[in-house]
């Protein structure tokens, strides 16, 4: 017989764990609204408070990591909506709501939360102009984080298809309003970043009320946009609506259609641009060619017609050869002159020259001699004449002329008779007169 089973005894911890398990699996996360009381901001950063309504109250805790995401300052008496998990705090034996997010209830509160978050993020510098990244001019892949259905996605796909059908569009469908929308949008942004190859993101939805757009005012979305490595264009609602996402995005588009226009260039513009570039290319090349051709022509001109060049060269050769010939001729004649000069010099020093010089000297001497002789002759002649005159005066002929006669013995050759004593009668005498002769005989002599 089997022993009766002893009742199973649980330790407190075991039970507490079971209760905790039951709570955790039975409830999970849910949204709870209520009023805050017993508000306590612990030094640890955790928030402890009681959430109550008219009949009930539950303790709640919001840990520091979650509390950092608060977009407003909660406090006692404030109506809030929390996303929370009911669970057992085994250490304290307390049922607690573990709060993940908390939002103020009501439009006024939303507005306040909006302003508070905006201020806080602005102070952090998330909206700074220098954080804004330029969009790629020609996105190859465009990521859309938006609702799967509705006007927004339709408008964006239509606009992208019309303007820039080259791009691949990857849609990350998300809920854009209601519970969990913000987290989905944030996850969508992160997923498209993880996917890789996406050039630009559009995050958005069509217009709506502040509550409808609220997801885009939540910090989780704002942080996801700020953390995106891909430039983000926000496209929330219509022009009058601004969301926090708009401030943190790299570019804000007033509508989804406008966002599609901002992220994609117009195909026709780009095609026109490319064909303009092509035309510019051809123009530039033909200008370059024209320039080169002109330069070539210039060089050709500078170089001249080769035939003319040859002619010119030939002419030049002719000129040169002429000059050479002239030069040679000049040189020859110079040489001839030189030879002549040398010959002259040679002649001057040679025997002929000497002969000539001797002859010359001889001539000179002869001349001098002749002249000397002449002088002498003339002198002699003059002397002769003088002598002749004197002679004339002394000439017997002159005596004869005066009537004297010369008596010679015998004949004309006989001795002149100067003394009659030399004569004997009868001697023959030869008598010479001034004119003629006579023969005579001595008849008588007297002493």
């Amino acid at each position: 017989m089997p022993a009766p089973r002893a009742p199973r005894v649980l330790t407190v911890t075991q039970l507490a764990r079971r209760i905790k398990e039951a709570l955790d699996t039975g409830f999970g996360a849910l949204w709870v609204s209520g009023e805050i009381s017993n508000w306590k901001h612990a030094a640890s950063g955790h928030l402890y408070f009681t959430l109550k309504d008219d009949e009930s109250q539950l303790d709640a805790v919001m840990f520091r990591t979650r509390a950092r995401g608060l977009v407003f300052d909660p406090g006692n008496g404030m109506e809030v909506v929390v996303a929370a998990r009911p669970s057992l705090y085994t250490g304290g034996g307390k049922l607690q709501l573990y709060v993940d997010t908390m939002e103020p209830l009501g439009v006024g509160a939303l507005q306040r939360a909006f302003e508070q978050l905006k201020e806080r993020l602005a102070a952090e510098g998330l909206f700074a102009a220098e954080r804004k990244r330029p969009l790629p001019r020609f996105p190859r892949t465009i990521g859309l984080v938006t609702a799967r259905e509705g006007a927004a996605i339709h408008d964006m796909l239509t606009t992208l298809g019309r303007r820039w059908p080259l791009a691949r569009v990857v849609v990350r469908p998300v809920r854009v309003q209601g519970d969990g929308a913000a987290a989905e949008v944030a996850a969508g942004i992160a997923d498209l970043n993880r996917l890789g190859g996406v050039d630009v993101l559009v995050v958005g939805r069509g217009g709506g009320s502040l509550e409808d757009l609220w997801a885009f005012n939540e910090e989780v979305v704002t942080r996801a946009i700020a953390a995106s490595t891909i430039p983000v264009v926000s496209a929330v609602g219509h022009e009058v609506d601004f969301t926090i996402a708009d401030f943190v995005a790299d570019l804000r588009a007033p509508t989804p259609t406008a966002a599609a226009e901002l992220v994609a260039p117009a195909w026709s513009d780009v095609a026109a641009h490319v064909s303009r570039d092509e035309a510019a290319l051809r123009t530039a090349l033909s200008r370059r060619m024209a320039l080169a051709r002109e330069r070539l022509a210039r060089l050709e001109r500078a170089l001249g017609d080769p035939r003319r060049r040859v002619e010119q060269v030939a002419q030049r050769v002719d000129e040169l050869s002429l000059r050479v010939r002239r030069g040679v001729a000049r040189r020859l004649s110079w040489e001839q002159r030189e030879v002549a000069a040398l010959a002259g010099r040679l002649e001057r020093v040679g025997p002929a020259a000497r002969v000539a010089r001797a002859r010359e000297r001889l001539d000179v001497a002869a001349e001098r001699l002749r002249r000397a002789i002449d002088v002498r002759v003339r002198h002699q002649r003059a002397a002769l004449q003088a002598a002749t005159g004197r002679l004339d005066a002394l000439s017997p002929l002159a005596c004869l002329a005066r009537g004297y006669a010369i008596a010679r013995v015998g004949d004309a050759t006989g001795p002149v008779v100067r003394d009659a004593a030399a004569l004997a009668p009868g001697d023959l005498l030869f008598l010479a007169f001034a004119a003629g002769t006579a023969r005579a005989r001595v008849e008588h002599t007297e002493p």
């Binding site: 790629p136 190859r140 469908p173 490319v274 064909s275 570039d277 530039a284």
Partner: protein
Amino acid sequence: MADDVSTPKFEDALAELEGVVRRLEQGELPLEDSLAAFERGIVLVRLLSERLTQVEQRVEVLLRTEGGKLSVRPLDDEE
């Protein structure tokens, strides 16, 4: 996509084309370089024009599977 990796980005190709045009227009390139630049430019023009004529829009949906893996499918055979 393989061709996204091997072919230059549209933006880069257009920027290169503009650079080629500018260099050619400045007229300072030697003639042979001009011809090379022109040929490169025409290649880019052809490439860009071809890209521009691929006008079929591709829309895909990015889905997250159970395991948190991402998968991309054409928009229309999503389900």
